[in-house]
Symmetry: C2
Subunit: 456 residues, 2 copies
Amino acid sequence: MFDPVEKLKEYVRHASVSADPQFKAHMAGAQQFLADLLKGIGFAVELVPTALHPVLVAKRGDNPAWPHVIIYGHYDVQPPDPLDQWKTPPFEATIKGERIYGRGTADNKGPLLVHITAVARLLEKNPNLPLRLTFVVEGEEEIGSKNFKAFLKENKEKLRGDFIYMSDNGILSPDQMIITVGLRGMLAFEIELTGPGSDLHSGMHGGVLMNPLQALAELCASLHTPDGRVNLPGFYDAVIEPQPWEREQLAKVGLKEKEYATFLGIKEFHTPPGYTPFEAIRFLPTLEFNGFSGGYQGEGTKTVIPRTARVKITCRLVPNQTPANMKEAIFNSIRARCPKGVTLTIKEQHGATPYVVIPPDRSNTPKDQSPALAKCFRAVDKAATEVFGKPPIYLREGGSVGLLADLKEVLGLDAVMMGLFLPEDNLHAPNESFHLGVMKRGIETSERVLAALAKG
Amino acid sequence: MFDPVEKLKEYVRHASVSADPQFKAHMAGAQQFLADLLKGIGFAVELVPTALHPVLVAKRGDNPAWPHVIIYGHYDVQPPDPLDQWKTPPFEATIKGERIYGRGTADNKGPLLVHITAVARLLEKNPNLPLRLTFVVEGEEEIGSKNFKAFLKENKEKLRGDFIYMSDNGILSPDQMIITVGLRGMLAFEIELTGPGSDLHSGMHGGVLMNPLQALAELCASLHTPDGRVNLPGFYDAVIEPQPWEREQLAKVGLKEKEYATFLGIKEFHTPPGYTPFEAIRFLPTLEFNGFSGGYQGEGTKTVIPRTARVKITCRLVPNQTPANMKEAIFNSIRARCPKGVTLTIKEQHGATPYVVIPPDRSNTPKDQSPALAKCFRAVDKAATEVFGKPPIYLREGGSVGLLADLKEVLGLDAVMMGLFLPEDNLHAPNESFHLGVMKRGIETSERVLAALAKG
């Protein structure tokens, strides 16, 4: 039996950044690592090509009478920038105290290894485990799973399982499991403003034309109200109030605003009125700026009026909002606000539809639910209660895993999402880490869940 | 006698970017090139160290009865970014049609070579030319001549000349000389806004805190009024209306707004009310954004809320405004507008005091003027009229050469500035070039001027 922590160190070394073509060799390294690991515990592994990064599909068990669990994960990671803020090398996983640091440790290399380890332990005890298992591990989650839907459509036959089982979601304390029952969607785009025909000397020509940077500031400043709402017509029209049981579950977590502010390193929140920060993250859409660029950014001064200025934006969407039904209104409002003197172009990037699943005991229409799905929810509830010592909490999350809507649409399958990463894990940021205690408890929980499912 | 165009090619090859320490070896190369060239025509050359890049001082003629002309130039150039917009390599000067392309061809390598060539020709004809000449060529003009004032103070004795003679200024057509009689000053600074304790995932934490990029947009958007004025209290208080002769001279140039807009590649001007674009550039202060940075700027998407956002700003100042008397009011207004939820720091960069000199026939107080200076102005007027075929025009310019105020303050000397670069020369931008016809006429004009001065 392998040591999961040592395996995680090995896995992190493959700097599988999907956003940047420079990391292509590392993407291949991560694929090979997983293929070898899964072959080693008896899986038949296939790398299915897509338009960009291949999807790894690994299968064991072929008795059609056995339950069939599809386990989802992704092998790609976020870019490591800004590099100078890392305290340990991002691609050399380093243990300090209860945590292992490195890009991808929490998102999603550690959590995927939790399930692989659970499976390996079960198969070591019982090589004839009566359970069909299919790992589907993609390489484009961090860039919006652009080719995953096409992959699902083309490989539908291979993926006729009972439900999806996965961990690409979070918890709030290392001592309590959270089952994610919803994720926000996303609309990502870039705005480019172009002014003069070329970069200009700001002394010779300054003060007579609209500087694209100024236009960018004016446009971006118009997109929020002073009270923290997004200032676009109709932006909140489709938002539905959370259900009473959702607010109850959230209250059970016992989150403290002061502690959250301390964790974020801020003195005050800037949350739309009527929502706590914890509610706003889960139940409201957003418009966030992810990057500004334009002009000189190097050392010293350059007296230039740049020809172009750019902003990268992501909107998070909530149920009833989709990239398709939101984007035209958003783009048209932005176009209508383009300051005079510059030309605006919008480059649409990836989108994700929000996702919601209602766990069995919360559903008003139990007959609509798949018995296999309900069984898995109950197995996770039981195992997590035993291993973590208290019952899990069912929460929607602020992040986006757009492929959930695709899995539902193409395969007709819902997902049971067992949270494993913590807010302190610094996902998508410098010094990402994974909690070793959570990793251990995650493996134990997953082992019990899969054992319970195998009993039939 | 050397070929000035071949010499310019050689000079451009030394990529003497003063802003970036990576180019240090090229800075030394440019110094050596000039030292060799000037030694070759009989000058005693000295490299005077400063806190950063040395100043080259080259002298010939030691008869105290002879007039003493101090010729100023700079051997440093702007960074070549954005490199992908250059049509020819920035540091391999390339002739196409009437122009020679390359970083520094116009600012200031070509214009300095004009005067060196004129001197070389005169000395070839008359090695005993009764004229003292001192070249002072610095290496920090593009980064604000930070150490030049200290250099002047420490080397005052070497620089006891009659006036400054130089070409680091522009003309508006290749057929007419412009004598620059004023330059705007500058106040350069960078604002950094810091929000959360580290970069955050915009899905997990978006919508609850002030994003530093949003704060930057709001702050920057507040700095101009919709009609194109700078929106800071007192910003225009010290501005004096241009003199009637200045407006007359400007009118003589026959500038056309439509042509200027076409040259800039814009559809409309964005000029404060009451001023034409040509007046605004010369007679009004500005606040221009030179660069935004913050968040992810690479390929694809990164769903991040960055910890910090930055803007580089330069204000151009007009007579009566100085960095010292403007900065506190500007900085305090900006500090007072810092959005809640972020912390603001201002990093002051270089400053420059505006400069004005009144040419002899425009002065109301002719007795105050130095006879040597008046003589030089008249020599330039005559030579330029002969060589270019029409009388020169006397104009203030929009750019900044802060050392002029330093030369005046430390050495007590005013400057005669013979314009040589054109708006189409793309100074500080990709595809900088220098007009070969202007170069030729510049050499002829300078030769006549120096010959006239030598006659005494």
